[in-house]
């Protein structure tokens, strides 16, 4: 999948909210690509816009989403339905609201198969059983006629994943799939997704707010801030030597085991209002490296090293610090 200059703007009474404002990235076959950022940065809207799952209006989506040789944003609605659920599937955050509470889970899985594939009722049910086993639901034969409320949160998320995998999609969009789950269950679901990816060879776009989850799952990652991608790189590169002060700030905000100090290094201030984003670089009001140029122009996302993009004019300064062996924070006051 290749995304070019995706923009999703919402028209609201208080003005145009530029939730996603010029986002471009590529997802390779078989890869896990992370979209990470804090609440309101546009990561979920980006994910939903790829399948046009945001209501239009109030949303206006522009740009190009190229997938298997077609631009999904230019397809008529009817053609889009053959892509959604079949070639690209989605897993949402809350497994309770993603499932229909009054339909048995087996029927919900079978429904997808009957919708997208030419199968009999009996075949669909057999495949539903198989899928429930694949996603690790114990005793699927006994659980297939249960309703969602009879499942725990983790098991419900497994059902949602079974529905997503029903048609062997090439790409899975996972929007905070484990945020509502407990730590040990989160671990199980993430490992399940990774194992399924290995056996089925699909690509995954994982939307999350948790850099540690990215570290454990993603090959490459894009960091979003205020509707734009500010940095993109291979996961280990990004974590070891970030080249954007926002990424650096996020890492410094986390409690660090190696450099224990009593006080953390938070990013000062709060994310901006997307109706009136700051001029120039959207991070400049909170940035320790801010200079006049940052206020005037919005720096483009440029290549700063092989397979490493940054939208900071002063990315070199971060690189120098990394080269000097210092991973200490960039002098943000507490």
């Amino acid at each position: 999948m290749r995304v070019e200059d995706l923009r999703t703007h919402f028209v609201t009474p208080s003005g145009v909210v530029r939730a996603v404002d010029g986002v471009s990235f590529e997802v390779a076959a078989g890869e896990t690509f992370g979209l990470v950022g804090e609440s309101g940065c546009g990561k979920s809207v980006t994910c939903r816009s790829l399948l046009r799952l945001v209501p239009e209006p109030p949303a206006a989506i522009s740009g190009r989403v190229l997938f298997e040789g077609r631009d999904l944003l230019a397809l008529p609605r009817s053609a889009l339905r053959t892509v959604r659920g079949r070639r690209i599937a989605m897993v949402f955050q809350d497994p309770m609201t993603a499932l229909n509470p009054v339909i048995r889970v087996g029927d919900q899985i079978a429904e997808v198969l009957r919708e997208h594939q030419d199968v009999t009722r009996r075949q669909a049910r057999a495949r539903a059983l198989e899928l429930m086993g694949l996603v690790g639901i114990p005793a699927p034969r006994e659980r297939i006629d249960d309703y969602p409320h009879q499942f725990s949160g983790g098991m419900r998320q497994r059902v949602v994943i079974a529905i997503a995998l029903a048609c062997n999609p090439r790409l899975l969009l996972a929007d905070e799939p484990t945020t509502a789950l407990d730590v040990t269950i989160q671990d199980q679901i993430l490992k399940l997704l990774l194992r399924l990816q290995q056996t089925l060879g699909m690509s995954i776009v994982l939307v999350t707010h948790d850099l540690a989850i990215v570290a454990q799952t993603c090959h490459r990652v894009a960091v979003m801030y205020a509707g734009t991608i500010v940095e993109q790189a291979a996961t280990d590169t990004l974590l070891a030597a970030p080249r954007h002060p926002y990424t650096r700030g996020l890492l410094d905000s986390l409690p660090n085991v190696r450099e224990r100090s009593r006080y953390l290094q938070p990013i000062p201030g709060a994310p901006p209002d997307l109706v009136r984003p700051p001029s120039g670089c959207r991070f400049h009001p909170r940035c320790p490296l801010v200079a006049d140029a940052c206020v005037r122009e919005q720096p483009p996302l440029r290549q700063v090293a092989p397979d490493h993009l940054s939208a900071c004019l002063y990315h070199d300064r971060l690189a120098e610090r990394a080269a000097a062996g210092s991973s200490s924070p960039i002098g943000v006051q507490r």
């Binding site: 040990t184 540690a212 905000s253």
Partner: protein, 327 residues
């Protein structure tokens, strides 16, 4: 804890809730269905200390925190604050105000129809008996203490960000001049950059005011940062209690081990495809007999299915409830 009497001493605290006492159950001759949220929990907290309380949803950590601030009355057991039972008449007078709570959700824990000034002022009038100009002065002081600009005093909660709301929640707790604050998932709902700001604030307040914290959270990274000691709960029971660094270096209880392994870390080299622990969390209404963790435990022995292991001392001042360590 160095011999001095603990500031908080919870002794064999249990709390159960009746979840079903319908006439139908009574007709069938069944007793009311009970959920044992906290079972036989003993925990001590010294003055000025921060103790982390960790565990997954339904493990009873919030229920225990609520018992401390007397939102719930324990079904059995005692909670002493400064040596006084907080549920005795003397305790009701003295403890009121001296154990306060900060809640998880800064959106639902503030009254949406009161301004910041009214929210804090109400506490000052009712709990501290202040009136008139003294209230305004103290509100300004408190806002300053939690790092909120004075002009925010006349805002309503919906005009504040999540981090600002949580600061208001902290100011409200401080208004009573407590010596203990129960932080119930106080930073869980916040984004990391804001979370770090609030954690710093909590630590600064502790340094300035000598506060004691019981820090309830599921995020082990945050708990490790802020706590000196940590207690791990599973299905209503304390399974391990330890110095925080000892726990991270060498977790004793198999559940603590699983919990640490399941926690994602910022290190791409520590990837694996294997589950940290199999199985689902059992329902606290029908917990497994014996050790509550035995159905998921890789070391389960026949004995674990029948008996509940007691929380016994282990080296380095730790305690653990597991037969692997019973000699």
């Amino acid at each position: 804890m160095n011999g001095a009497a603990p500031l908080i001493d919870a002794i064999h605290v249990s709390k159960s809730f009746v979840v079903d006492s319908s006439p139908l159950r009574r007709l069938r001759g069944l007793p009311p269905l009970q959920l044992h949220a906290v079972r036989d929990l003993s925990l001590q907290v010294a003055r000025g200390e921060t103790v982390g309380l960790v565990g997954e949803s339904g493990c009873g950590k919030t229920t225990f925190g609520r018992c401390l601030v007397r939102l719930y009355r324990p079904s059995s057991g005692q909670i002493l604050h400064n040596g006084v039972d907080i549920f005795s008449p003397a305790g009701e007078r003295s403890a009121r105000g001296s154990i306060q709570m900060i809640f998880q959700d800064p959106y639902s824990s503030l009254n949406p129809r009161l301004t910041v000034r009214q929210t804090i002022g109400e506490v000052l009038r009712v709990k501290r008996g202040l009136a008139g100009g003294a209230v305004a002065t103290r509100v300004a002081e408190l806002l300053n203490q939690v790092g909120l600009a004075p002009e925010l005093a006349d805002r309503f909660p919906n005009q504040l960000s999540g981090g600002q709301r949580q600061r208001v929640g902290i100011a409200r707790a401080l208004a009573v001049e407590p010596d203990v604050i129960v932080c119930d998932e106080a930073v869980s709902a916040l984004d990391v950059s804001v979370q770090a700001q609030v954690l710093n604030l909590l630590m600064r307040l502790q340094d300035e005011l000598g506060l004691t914290y019981l820090f309830i959270a599921h995020n082990l990274g945050v708990v490790r940062h802020i706590s000196k000691r940590v207690a791990v709960m599973y299905l209503g029971r304390l399974v391990e209690q330890s110095d925080v660094e000892d726990l991270f270096r060498e977790p004793l209880h198999p559940y603590s081990r699983a919990l640490l392994q399941a926690m994602p870390v910022l290190d791409t080299r520590r990837r694996s495809l294997d589950d940290a622990v199999a199985g689902d969390l059992p329902s606290p209404i029908a917990p497994p007999p014996g050790c509550p963790f035995h159905p998921r435990c890789p070391h389960a022995m026949p004995r674990c299915r029948e008996e509940t292991p007691a929380l016994l001392p282990a080296p380095a001042g730790r305690t653990v409830a597991c037969f692997l360590y019973h000699r």
